[in-house]
Structure formats: C-alpha cells, structure tokens
Subunit: 108 residues, 2 copies
Amino acid sequence: MAPRTSHRAAPVHARLDDVTVQEALAALADPVRLRLVRELAGSADWSRACGSFDVPVGKAALSHHFAALRAAGLVEQRDEGPRRVNRLRREEFDARFPGLLALVLRGD
Amino acid sequence: MAPRTSHRAAPVHARLDDVTVQEALAALADPVRLRLVRELAGSADWSRACGSFDVPVGKAALSHHFAALRAAGLVEQRDEGPRRVNRLRREEFDARFPGLLALVLRGD
C-alpha cells in the first residue's frame, strides 16, 4: 500500500489571472482572513500550519477562510503528514494586483 | 419659513484618516458598490443623482450602498432640491489608500 499522508484531497490553487479584483478585495475584506494574511506575511514560507494562527474561529470556519484565501490566489498550501502548511503567494499576488498587499500589510 | 430642499438629513461624510483598510476593502468588495464607484469615476463631479445608476437593486438597498461608500470615504454627496448628487472622492481616497482606486478602476 502506498503511504497515506492525509485523508484530505490535495488543496486546489487559483491561477492568479483568473482572480478578479472584486474577488481579491472580498478575500481581504474579512477580519479573520486579514489577520491570517498578516500573520503569514510575518512568517517564513511553509512554517505555519493552519492550526497555528491566533484567530477566534472554529476548525470548519478556519477551513472555509483558507479556501477563500486559496481561491483568491493569496495562499498556497501543502500537506506535510498531518499538517497543512502555508505560504503567502506574495510575488504572484503582487504582480496581479500591484500595491494591494502592501496596503493590507501596512496595518492601519 | 426657510426654504426646505429636502426632507432628509444632510449626508454625513467620513474623515479619511478614520477609515481602516479593512473598511475600504469591504466597501469596494461588493459588486453593486464596485459598479457605483466605476460609473462615478467616469462621470463629472456632482453630475450623477443616486437614482441615475444602472444597478439591479431597490431604493432602500441603494441608500444602504451609498451610505457604505460615504462611510468608507469614497463618495461625497449633497442635496440639490429633490436630487442627491454625488462625486467620487478620488484624490482624498487615493492619498489615504494609494493605488487602490486605480486597481478597482482597471476593470478586471
């Protein structure tokens, strides 16, 4: 039997060209997702598992928020054994929506 | 008796310094409001009454959307007799959130 590292399907990622500005704004306009993005921006790529963020939501809601961030091209995820780890797609997102991440990470 | 031009209270406008990036993003992440902003951007200041926009919502919803745009510092309104007319606060908004309006008006 092949080793099984996760029960979940591998995460699906957005092509940045397919993301509209409205989708990008909607992804970032939510306070929980804004916090996830800001925390990710301050962390090394692939260093943060989904459960490691300080946000006041349950597991199902957190999954939903990460799916929204993936769909907007903001986050890439991969499974490492039982952990799903993340990186901010900073360069790709910035190429598609110049300046938007910088505004969001300014923190005001 | 003083002339009465409107039954409504005069619109209240946001101080841009008080608008957070999350509020700005949330105001722009809605498809109806995005359309209002884009139509306003293509119109001369004060040339557009609230009822003149091609959006698929009723009067109460439209009022709500304009209130959200005012609160985010995107729109200034004034009453001219029975009409409430609008201008996009382009320069002020751009000074507070550089590049954000440009992204939104890019139209993709």
